[in-house]
Assembly symmetry: C2
Homo-oligomer: 217 residues x 2
């Protein structure tokens, strides 16, 4: 995939804007597990995912985590460039969940483009609206949903992202995604196994009955 | 306050845009406790608060509430016009917490303006970034903070909004703001009273020691 194919409002830019943007954007690679961005202090730049997967999460003072959302190609990451928006004050961390290739757009170039082009500004709005909706959904889950539903949701999303019903993931990692203790995840997974929804083995979970999991979620 | 003074990027609009916008915006009044907007299905319009106060909150299927944030003059409300942004899918409710006067801007007019003017589009981005940051902050509070801190935060914010340390608010109303049962609020307020932080009377709370409440928060 070329940058011009991945960047969403490419055809709405002028020739000059296209030239400046493609010169400014840098293709970079990160191995699985790299931390790309650490909260408000950083202004890493805008990230356009070419391959792999990113995870955005928040971190408690004690080091507990909860996943806000994941970004797959060709998703666009704004929160790694908080300096682009004056009112964006949040301590979101971004890490690569897989070996990841992405284009990094310097904040100053993107800011210039947003000021010139209503299309870029409105595209940015749409990305923000989408992430905002995801976070409100997460908040609702945490407030009103029980762990069984959240875990069923997570397993189905994970199977969808991986394209497989055989998930190589530890209970601890699931706990980090859901902001829940490992013990609570293990307890619920064992209950799912007794109900015939999953089969557990060391470091892996097999979705035995995705249909019934979906009913639960 | 006139509309042209309240609308944030007024001076960046063309004469024609100013004319169209001021003709489209309607000044409306709502009594305290009115529901102005009910979630995704509605597209009420953009709201620019002239006086009074709005509250944005989410609602569980069982009718539990939690306050996302409040809007005071001259705050601008986007979430009451989800149709303006394709990717905004959320069931946020808006109510007037005080007798409120506001300008309502029809969604189609605002959408046209966003498409024409980078200033309006970028202003919209800033509003969204600000609300997004507030909701992430709330999520962090719910996940990592204990009720004593959240209650102290709420009481101080309320005193600031009201300009008084004598708050006329019920424990049940505080519970709705914080997404917590009334009983838990009452228990914590009694503990605060024993510690000399507040004085409780029927339907009212007096902040006896705002300094120590601030240390807690």
């Amino acid at each position: 995939m070329e940058f011009s194919e991945a960047f969403p409002v490419w055809s709405d830019l002028t020739g000059e804007q296209q030239k400046q943007l493609s010169q400014a954007a840098v293709l970079r690679s990160f191995p699985q597990g790299a931390t790309l961005h650490r909260g408000d202090a950083d202004c890493t730049g805008l990230l356009l995912v070419r391959s792999g997967r990113l995870r955005a999460y928040i971190l408690s003072p004690e080091g507990r985590e909860i996943t806000l959302y994941r970004l797959s190609p060709p998703d666009f990451c704004l929160l790694s460039a908080p300096c682009v928006l004056h009112n964006l004050h949040l301590e979101v961390q971004i890490e690569s969940e897989r070996d990841t290739q992405l284009w990094m757009i310097p904040p100053e170039n993107y800011r210039t483009l947003m000021a010139q082009s209503p299309c870029v500004a409105n595209y940015t709005n749409e990305v923000m609206a989408s992430r905002f909706s995801q976070v409100i959904w997460l908040l609702e889950q945490i407030l009103w949903q029980k762990l069984d539903r959240r875990l069923a949701d997570f397993l189905l999303e994970e199977a969808d992202l991986e394209g497989s019903s055989h998930l190589k993931i530890t209970h601890e990692a699931i706990g980090r995604h859901l902001g829940t203790a490992r013990e609570a995840v293990t307890r619920m997974l064992r209950y799912f196994q007794e109900e015939g929804l999953v089969n557990l083995s060391r470091g892996a979970i097999e979705l035995a009955d995705p249909g019934r999991l979906a009913q639960l979620s």
